[in-house]
Symmetry: C2
Subunit: 179 residues, 2 copies
């Protein structure tokens, strides 16, 4: 063992610019953290990076700030911010003195998580349930025990589907305990 624990090869999306490298390093680590997490959740890197850079800043950032700190195009910043606003991950705070809108992370991560579960998991499980109903109806009634085998397999899937559905609210409750 000669190398330290270098978890991931670093996304290289953060530009140092003229800020203290101490700050840029912190931002880099934060952006990488969210980029990693996003990969698991199926969110584009640029979107995760924007959230990361906003999260890493103690003060709200303007569009221009984000553009300057990240090595991504203006178009991506625009689209990414739209997505993040839509899901409530960042919110605009109007700056008094200036004309540009400023963005800060919405720290109610609870809500984000809940929304994610709702949108992706609950939706998928609901659709799965419908599909399984169709499957149960479409069961081919082949001879012997064959029909029985298939019936039991479909039933097994239905059991899993409903268990997963039942787990969702439990998970939600658990994550909310003293957030």
């Amino acid at each position: 063992m000669t190398t330290a624990t270098l978890i991931t090869p670093a996304s290289g999306l953060v530009l140092t610019g003229d800020r203290p490298s101490e700050v840029a390093d912190f931002e880099r680590a934060m952006v990488d953290f969210f980029v990693d997490a996003a990969e698991l959740l199926g969110v584009p890197k640029s979107v995760a990076a924007i959230y990361g850079i906003v999260f890493a800043s103690p003060a709200p950032l303007s569009f221009a700030d984000i553009e300057a700190r990240l090595d991504i195009s203006k178009g991506s910043v625009s689209q990414g911010l739209r997505v993040l606003r839509e899901v409530g991950a960042v919110k605009e705070v109007s700056s008094e003195s200036d004309r540009a809108e400023l963005f800060e992370p919405d720290l109610e991560l609870r809500k984000l998580v809940a929304r994610f579960m709702e949108n992706r998991l609950a939706k998928q499980l609901g659709e799965g349930e419908s599909r399984l109903d169709q499957l149960a109806k479409a069961l081919p009634k082949g001879r012997h025990g064959e029909a029985a085998v298939l019936r039991s397999r479909v039933k097994q899937l239905q059991t899993w589907n409903s268990k997963a559905r039942a787990l969702l609210p439990i998970a939600k409750a658990f994550l909310n305990l003293g957030g």
Copy 2:
């Protein structure tokens, strides 16, 4: 409302061949179910389709059977079966009379789910924890309350990470209850 509940546009991977259309319809529905689910889990369509077609058959299927029922290349069948064997989703049963290996689904879905949680979720959360440790060390000590803001944000992420870690075994236990 004029249209029925057509959950998804159908993957079109199942070939009817010369089997009864009743059977092909069932297979189609099953394959689509797994293809959908796989999308959520980040598994390639072809792999999900192979699992689906095997799952939809009361009798074990040979390599050639799978190739004939699905509209995917021989190469994909080979690679897909390898993946499925590696994660224990299908198992080989040697056919007495014939020389070809036959495949059937490993119905211990519990194990599959547990393995998935282990590999994807637990791994990701573990890496996240390391990253967060790094982040905590890299906290830039800017003036005023700024440092405090960042410290509290990092702490918040750590709290979430550990909650998620704590949830995993709970979820596992819940899903195992009377499977």
